[in-house]
Symmetry: C2
Subunit: 448 residues, 2 copies
């Protein structure tokens, strides 16, 4: 499957020819956001690619199916392209794979066309990426069973760590769409309402104070973007739900743990999660991840009919997940290594449950997976788990560079990374299908 490209692609690039993720960019020559794909160290500006070259349809001259819809590539979001549906996404991706293949059947389109290369191919370090979608609604699931269990044990007994509903339905809450930002956006430490001395377990009357969050955390998640709407009142059957998935991003659900502890009863997290959610700039098409489908976590219960999947062996994605923490000193530590299979519920199950009531989904809706943690030390996708609820700090580095973290400090940079198709250091060219980075730096709280 790993085809070679005439464009040099570094062997460890997340953006191999097998990937071709979609995003929104501005370039040195155009400050108007347009659709692009990433390949190796380059972005192909599909607005330029589709509108010049002397052909009527530009670089898409040899793909008849897309010709009526070329304006989608000149939009400032992926919504219009996504709305064309998975069969067209597939054709566009396969066509572009052909265009970039060493043995391309269309050498005149780009390989031998230095003019169009100059107009449409930009080094990644020369462009800016932007929010890939206008998000309608954002829902965050809680499908990372290991995370839910570990967090449950912190606050309850092991045998009641998971709520009774957990294995019967994909638990979720509606999130805040307006605070979803693209990778690279700084995250300001929020103020919030917090219980004074929240470390104590005394049962005296809690006294809240208004102060900057002291327990700022990240959460390692996947996100999926929706590419098809259902009518209100019409549930999406689980076996059709994959047709509604445009593709995937990495997602950091920044969390103010001290705010969350106090506010979340009885209606769930609110301000603890509404100050910023980061997503990767490049969206991997669902098709590009098809080869990496694998079994997720086993559910001990037989699930209800409307959640029963066609192929439970392919419910999750075999993705390598990593979290790097770069401290203010400039040192970088990989503090988490997990895998996308650590989910109890699949995206089709999430969609089927979300719409079981007839809730309408729209193109551009974003669904977070929940924190994807393993069970062992070093596999946990947030600091709440890693520090056992803020009780045992993690150690970074050695000797004079040694630092500790209970929660995030101002100036800390959190970088999520994920890829399929190889192990770090042993990849072959054209093999990796990755997201690039989902990164954010913690800015100090506002002064009052």
């Amino acid at each position: 499957m790993a085809r070679k490209s005439w464009l040099p692609i570094p062997h460890n690039s997340h953006f191999s020819l097998s990937n071709l993720p979609f995003g929104i960019i501005t370039t040195p020559t155009s400050r108007i956001p347009h659709v692009a794909v990433a390949i190796g160290n380059y972005a192909l500006d599909l607005h330029m690619f589709s509108s010049s070259n002397g052909h009527a349809a530009g670089g898409f001259n040899d793909l008849a199916a897309i010709k009526p819809y070329l304006s989608v590539f000149s939009q400032p979001t992926l919504n219009a392209f996504a709305a064309l549906g998975r069969p067209l996404h597939r054709q566009v991706r396969e066509y572009l794979q052909d265009v970039f293949s060493e043995d391309t059947p269309y050498p005149d389109i780009l390989k031998l066309n230095k003019g169009l290369q100059a107009q449409s191919l930009y080094p990644l370090d020369s462009i800016e990426t932007h929010m890939p979608f206008h998000i309608g609604d954002y829902t965050d699931f809680y499908a990372g069973k290991n995370h839910a269990y570990t967090v449950g044990v912190l606050f309850r007994e092991p045998n009641t760590a998971l709520q009774p509903n957990y294995t019967h339905l994909p638990v979720a809450y509606h999130g805040r769409a307006s605070s979803v930002v693209v990778s690279g956006t700084p995250i300001r430490r929020p103020w919030g309402q917090i219980i004074k001395d929240s470390g104590s377990d005394s049962d005296s009357t809690p006294v809240p104070v208004h102060q900057p969050c002291k327990r700022l955390d990240f959460e390692l998640e996947l996100g999926a973007f929706i590419c098809r709407a259902n009518d209100m009142g019409e549930p999406i059957p689980v076996v059709q739900a994959h047709d509604y998935i445009f593709g995937y991003v990495l997602l950091n659900d920044w969390s103010a743990r001290d705010v969350q502890t106090w506010e979340y009863v009885p209606l769930g997290p609110f301000t603890a999660k509404n100050f910023g959610t980061s997503i990767s700039a490049w969206v991997i098409l669902a098709d590009a991840l098809e080869p990496f489908k694998a079994k997720g976590l086993e559910n001990e219960h037989q699930v209800l009919d409307y959640l029963r999947e066609a192929d439970p062996e392919k419910s999750a994605l075999d993705l390598n997940l990593e979290v790097d923490l770069t401290t203010k000193k400039g040192n970088t530590y990989t503090i988490c290594r997990s895998n996308g299979r650590n989910l109890l519920w699949s995206y089709p199950q999430m969609i089927a449950h979300h719409t079981v009531t007839g809730c309408p989904m729209a193109v551009g809706d974003l669904l977070g997976s929940g924190t994807i943690s393993g069970t062992r030390e070093g596999t946990q996708g947030c600091l709440l788990e890693q520090t056992q609820g803020g009780r045992v700090p993690i150690t970074l580095g050695h000797g004079s560079e040694k630092e500790e973290r209970m929660y995030l400090q101002d100036g800390d940079t959190v970088r999520l990374r994920a890829w399929a198709g190889g192990r770090s250091g042993v990849e072959k060219e054209g093999e990796l299908v990755g997201f690039g980075d989902c990164v954010g730096t913690v800015m100090p709280a506002l002064q009052r």
Copy 2:
């Protein structure tokens, strides 16, 4: 204050000259949605009003301030008009009040202009209303303390009915924007995951089933639309928050109680609330309700600095609230009479808390108040309260027409009504400031 209009306005009309609520309509002559105001039994199409009449600015010829922005009235939502800010909303409303006044200073604009009247004034029963806003995010608060207390007592002891955080912060959850619909839209009874025999209090292992909701309820709420954005990371101070409120609607937060009971731990309501939320078609400008500001419920706690209001005596709205239930037989019963003062938290407090973390608000965001219940029988804003948790049915009618309700039945129509400025039966012309109806009929669940 009650000015008389040259246009006949019925004495009991919600749409007096003191009101002039804004909405989105299509008319017999235009199927393209435009901005309108309601007055008496008419809607004034502001697209037609502002674009014809021989003047450069049409009917707005004598209001210089709005002339650069006339295109806002030709939009299919109120978002662009709302974004102009409260000072302009005020000028437009006052100008239109002048235009419609018996002693109008601008008689040539409309009063004596039969041509423009024919082009822009439509009987309400000849037009269709549409969603007034494109909603970005929808948040539902829980500020109805009597509701929270009564529901808390149903599930816990009276002294723990309210959670410890309740009197310190306005509890809320992020809702589902895509399922907010305009008054008149039918609501299909949702399917959901429900515990078999959910009436029993046994502590045996719960067994969920997939079935149509059997405990479908309404919730009587207000909603507020946002007309101004804050930058991400910048909280909105409570004393400035009223500048962010465009206006108010009535809101019915339809709820599947049996779904909610099972799913809501630990992240709050999800599918129990995402199948439909109805709002009234006409949005009353914040200015029109200024004269009806009144004290809300007393908070026993001193609230934190960021929630402290300039004038706590004017934290709520003195609105008469009613709920009518029309059964399939066609009989109508008023099953609830409440008042807008039954809220513990004001809208400025809700906005200040929502953004305390720096959460960005956008023009068109919708904030629900939570269920506005009184404490006595007949004042409770949902069936969950009225039937004591589904234990004691309410009785409708007498003799051969007698019916009972524990929860809503297919074919039931729920109509919320609210108005300020008079008591039913004793209004004077020009006095009432009301929302019209917020109505929805329950359709049977889909067959499987």
